[in-house]
Amino acid sequence: MTPSQTKISADSVSLYGRLERLALAAGALIMLAIVAASILIAARSDTDLADSEHAQAARAITVDLLQAVTSAETGQRGYLLTQRSEYRAAYDDAVTHVPGLLHDLEQALPADPDLPRWREAITTKLAELAATVRLEESGRHADALALVQTDRGKQAMDAARTIAARLSVRERAAIENDLHRSQTGTRLLVAVDAGAFVLLVLLVYVVSNSLRASIRRLSQSQQALRAANLELEAGRDRLEAAVAERTAELTSANDEIQRFAYIVSHDLRAPLLNIIGFTGELEDATNRLNRFVDKNLETAGIQVPAEVRAASQDDLPEAIRFIQTSTAKMDRLITAILRLSREGRRVLTPERLDMATLLGGVIDSVRHQADASGAELSVGSVPSITSDRIAVEQVFSNLVENALKYQAPGRPVQIRVEGRREGRFARFEVRDNGRGIAERDRERVFELFRRAGAQNTAGEGIGLAHVRALLRRMGGTIDCESALDVGSTFIVRLPFSLSHNGA
């Protein structure tokens, strides 16, 4: 899967976000609407209920009032009929209630148009009743009856009754109205809640859909990522396998070279030994010959021609001498190669090295040499590393010895070793103020059997080649900075920690 397919585009992310935000806002609004509607409807219901109660109360008062007037009338009738005080008491009792009830009714229905007429009717009736009772009380029974018969009282009562009926009807209507209103409110609330519920369900549906879609997208991209990861791992495994293969190839090639160098130098020694040996025999025989010739020819008095003398005294010894110096040099070179190849096969054993102590040891080992030429050697701050002790000692011994060897004429050499950490490597500098190395020779000095500058010191030119080979084996490098007649700095980089398979 190509990388572009695994990405969720920026646009799609924001779109989903917007939809969800809208949904949340809509949901909140709907909730708010429900709450507001509920509050409103509840408030209205409250009012309706209060009104209803009010109307009920008014109706009760109306009934009570009519009842009171009727009771007064009944009391009056009874008194007129029997003149007994119980009936008088009943009438009195009923009459005392009326003003209060009237007052209450007027409080309850202040705007009712029938109320004043009802008050009038009742007042008239009560007045009639009061008059008849007074008449009866004072013994004027006939007058009382005559008053009743005028029907004034009856008319007033009828009027009162009619009005009461009207009031009653109106009150009942009002009560029904309030009830109806209350019911409507409740129904409205239910409708609102139902509508809101439907909307919310819709909203939930929409949001869950979009969430599902985005989850699906996420899991897709997750799968794509996993697939890409697997591919990456497979690729990395292949790479590692390839690297391991190459390393194995290189290692075996290197081993072959080492074996080759060893065998070659070993097999070169055998004939070399013969050359050296028989040159020695040659020299020995020549000397014997010369001694005989000198002794006997002189005694015999024979003149030895110049060229014969030259042959025995100059040519033979000179030839032998040249052969001997050349073979000696060959011997040294082969020894060096043998040692290099043997070094290359030695197993590196990493250990923690206190570089300050190690370098101190190197300097001590060249103390006599240094003192002889007045050299000053010093070690600055150096980091400790983990590496092969023998190899590291060889590297720095070689560099220090070189610095001591290649001094500038007339100037005692100052050699300083310093080091610091550079990431995964430790960087050491061996700085001297010796004769320096020319630009064109900078790389040459690292070649096997090559040297640079005035050849006035002993040496085969094997040191720096060996040093570089050693460092390469340990995963390090060596570089040289130099200026003629000023001095040189050799920069050694070593891994801070040499692993066991540093080969």
Partner: protein, 143 residues
């Protein structure tokens, strides 16, 4: 050396080395016959094809291990396994100083193992010292 003359059998493939060994041994005062055999096959033929002659001629073997046609170890093994020849002093004189090789030679019964120095001075000196050693050695009769 003892009364019966001992022949020194030198098994060495390089003729130059053989000659130098001979010269330096002589310089140490050894006057015995030195017989030079240049390869393993010839050596085996000479040693094990002699039959009765062995009874009269005690020998001392100077053995180089790097022979062209076989390893000197095989010759050492055969000498020390043979009921007649196993008393023969065998001095291994070879270039290798490998510890395992040295152990193997002594395990097979070699009497002395000498590593030839690879440079001539040491070589000549070592051979001369070997020669001096030979002059004081007692070589057993075989039969």
């Amino acid at each position: 050396m003892n009364v019966v003359p001992v022949t020194i059998v030198l098994i060495e493939d390089d003729p130059g080395h053989a000659r130098l060994i001979e010269k330096n041994v002589r310089r140490a005062g050894v006057a015995n016959d030195i017989q030079h055999l240049a390869d393993g096959t010839t050596a085996l033929e000479h040693l094990f094809g002699r039959g009765e002659a062995i009874k009269s001629d005690p020998i001392l073997v100077l053995l180089d291990l790097n022979l062209p046609d076989m390893s000197g170890i095989d010759i050492l093994g055969r000498i020390k396994a043979d009921p007649l020849l196993r008393r023969t002093p065998v001095i291994v004189l070879t270039t290798t100083d490998d510890k395992l090789e040295i152990q193997r030679c002594y395990d097979l019964g070699c009497n002395v193992y000498i590593t030839k120095p690879v440079e001539y001075e040491g070589f000549a000196s070592a051979i001369r010292q070997l020669g001096l050693f030979l002059t004081v050695m007692q070589v057993p009769e075989l039969a």
